[in-house]
Symmetry: C2
C-alpha cells in the first residue's frame, strides 16, 4: 500500500523552481509570472496534486474548522441541524467536524478533547442527556474558546445560545388540547435533568393553571427517551383511575411509542385521547393518525448558531457579549389532536 502523495516540493523539483514559487503560484498570488503560474498549475493538475491540509493549517496556525457535538445523529432534529450548520459554515469558509455523544457524558468529554486536539476554532454543542456537570464546558469558556450551545443547554453556562421558547411552546400545545375539549391532560416528559423537559413541564402547568385544570403532578410521567420506557410510562399514565383525555409528549419519537402503546390497548386517538408533541419530524405528517407537533425553525437555528459563533471567532477584541437567541415555534395542527 504505497501511496506517496505529491507535494509542492515534487512540483518544484520537476520544474526546476523553488518551492516558494510553487506555493505562490498555487495560491494565485499576483506577483508571479503568468508563464510559471501556468506551468505549475498544469503540472499540479497532471499529478493530481492535493494540498496537505494538515501542513497548511499548521503553518498558518488556523484551521478554519468548527467542531459540532450532538447527542445522536439518528434523531431527525440533530441531523437536520447538522445540515444547516454545515451549509452556513461552508459559506463562511469553515468546515465542520462532527461528533456524537450517544447521550453519554463521558463521550462528551472525550469528544471535546479530540476536537480540541484537532484544533477546531470553536464549538457548537447540544449537551447529552446524561450531562449534569458542566465543568468540561466551563473549561472551554475559561480558555476563551468560542462556543455556542443549542437546544440542550444549561442556564448556568455563560455562552451564546440558540434555543426555542420551550415554556411558550408547551403552553401553546397544552392550550390547543384544552381548546379541543380535553380536560384531564397528561405530560409524558423526558429525563428529569433535561432543562428543556422541565421548561416544557412548566409551560404545560401554566396553561392548565390558567384554565383551572391543574390536577397536580400525578399526570406528569418521565421517560428516559427510549421506546421501552415511553411505552411503559404511557401504559402507566393510561392506567390512572382517571386516565387523561389529552397528552402532551416531549418528542415525536416518544409520541410514536406512546401511540403504539395506546393502539395496543385499543385506546383511540384522538377520540379517547388527543396528542400533541414536539419536533415535527417529517414522519409525523405521515403517521396514522397524523401527529400534531410543535415545529422548530431548524434551518434558522443552524444559521443562527453559526452566526453567533462566527461573531466570536472574528472578534478582534476580547469581549463579545454573549447572546441568547430565542426562536419562535409553531404548532402544526394535524389529526392526533382534532376531535370531530
Amino acid at each position: 500500500m504505497k501511496n506517496t502523495p505529491v507535494t509542492i516540493k515534487d512540483i518544484a523539483r520537476s520544474l526546476n523552481i523553488s518551492i516558494s514559487t510553487v506555493s505562490r503560484a498555487l495560491r494565485g498570488m499576483p506577483e508571479i509570472h503568468p508563464d510559471t503560474r501556468n506551468a505549475v498549475l498544469k503540472l499540479a493538475e497532471e499529478l493530481d496534486y492535493q494540498p496537505n491540509q494538515l501542513a497548511k493549517n499548521l503553518a498558518k496556525s488556523r484551521t478554519k474548522t468548527i467542531g459540532v457535538i450532538v447527542p445522536n445523529l439518528s434523531y431527525y432534529y440533530f441531523s437536520a441541524m447538522l445540515n444547516s450548520i454545515e451549509e452556513a459554515a461552508l459559506q463562511a469558509g469553515y468546515s465542520v467536524l462532527v461528533c456524537q455523544t450517544n447521550e453519554s457524558y463521558l463521550r462528551e468529554i472525550t469528544n471535546i478533547q479530540n476536537l480540541m486536539r484537532s484544533q477546531v476554532e470553536g464549538f457548537i454543542i447540544s449537551l447529552s442527556r446524561d450531562t449534569d456537570n458542566y465543568e468540561h464546558v466551563e473549561r472551554l469558556v475559561r480558555k476563551n474558546i468560542p462556543l455556542v450551545l443549542f437546544d440542550r443547554y444549561a442556564e448556568s453556562i455563560n455562552v451564546s445560545k440558540v434555543i426555542v421558547d420551550n415554556h411558550a411552546a408547551a403552553f401553546k400545545a397544552t392550550e390547543h388540547l384544552i381548546e379541543n375539549g380535553c380536560r384531564r391532560i397528561g405530560f409524558l416528559a423526558g429525563p428529569t435533568q433535561l432543562v428543556l423537559s422541565n421548561q416544557r413541564i412548566a409551560g404545560y402547568k401554566a396553561a392548565l393553571e390558567k384554565h383551572d385544570l391543574w390536577a397536580g403532578d400525578k399526570y406528569v410521567f418521565h421517560c428516559d427517551y427510549t421506546t421501552e420506557s415511553a411505552i411503559m410510562q404511557t401504559l402507566a399514565m393510561m392506567s390512572l383511575p382517571q386516565p387523561p383525555d389529552g397528552v402532551v409528549i416531549i418528542s415525536d419519537r416518544m409520541a410514536f411509542s406512546a401511540m403504539y402503546a395506546m393502539n395496543q390497548k385499543g385506546i383511540r386517538i384522538p377520540d379517547d385521547v388527543a396528542i400533541v408533541s414536539f419536533n415535527n419530524e417529517p414522519v409525523s405528517a405521515l403517521f396514522s393518525p397524523t401527529l400534531t407537533s410543535i415545529n422548530q425553525p431548524i434551518q434558522e437555528m443552524g444559521t443562527e448558531a453559526v452566526r453567533l459563533l462566527l461573531r466570536e471567532l472574528d472578534a478582534v477584541d476580547e469581549n463579545v457579549p454573549k447572546e441568547t437567541k430565542v426562536m419562535e415555534t409553531q404548532l402544526m395542527v394535524r389529526g392526533s389532536s382534532l376531535r370531530k
Copy 2:
C-alpha cells in the same frame, strides 16, 4: 479572542528540560526518569496541555483517520451505520471523518477531495443517488487508496464491498406477499440508476415468475426518494385499472409516504393492499399498521466494512485481493402484510 494553546515547548521551558524529553515523557516512553516524567505529567495536567493532532500527524505522516461518506445522515440506515463504523474504528485506534453528499454527485467529488486533503488513510463510501459516473472513485483506486463501498455501490468498481443480497431479499419479500394471498403485486422502486433498486426489482420479478404471476413492467413504478414522488407514484399505481393487492416498496421511508397516500384514498392496509418494504427502521415497528420490512444487519455491516478497510490499510504488500461481503437479510413480519 486570544487563546494560545500550550505546547511541549512551553512545558520544556518552564521545566528547564528539552522538548524531546517532554515529548517522550508525555508518550510514556520507558527510558525516561520517573521523576522527570512525573514532573512533566503534572505540569501538563496543570496547564491542561492538549497535544496538537495536526503537528503529530504531520510529524508521523500518519493520521490514523478514515473518511466516511454517506448520502444523508437523516436516513436511519446511514446514521446507524456510522455509529457502527465509528465504534469499530475506535477499537482499532482510528478516528473517522464524516461527510454527507446530500445525494449529490458534485458534493461527493468535493467530499472526497476534502477528505484527501485531510489525509484520511482510507474511505468507506456509500454512493449518492445522483452518482452515475465513477471516475472520481476509480481515481482513488488507481492511487491505491484503500476503499470500501457499502449499500450503494457499483459493480464495475474493483474494490471491497459490503452489501446485502438484494435479489434474494426482494424475492423473499415478494414471495411473502404471495403466500399471504396477494396475486397482483406492484413494486414502488427507487431511481433507475440505483443498482440496489434494480437488483430488488429483479428479485421481485423472479418471485412473480416462479409463481406465474408476472404481469409485466406496468406494476413497477419509480420514485426519486422524496415524499412527494412516493405519494404521486403510489396514487398512480393504485389508479391502475387492476390495482395491486400487494406492494413491495424500496424503503420504509417511501412506505410511510405510500401508506399515507393510501390512507387518504381510503385504501385499507393490509385488507385491500398488503405492504412489505426495506430497512426495518425502528419507527416501522410503531407505525399503524406496523410495517413488515426487510432487516439488514447494520451492526455487522459496519464492523465488516471497517474490517475490510483495515485489512488493506495494514497490508504490507501491495496486493490485497478485494473482497465482497454479502450479508443475509431477515424479513420482519408485521401487520402491514398479514391478512386475517
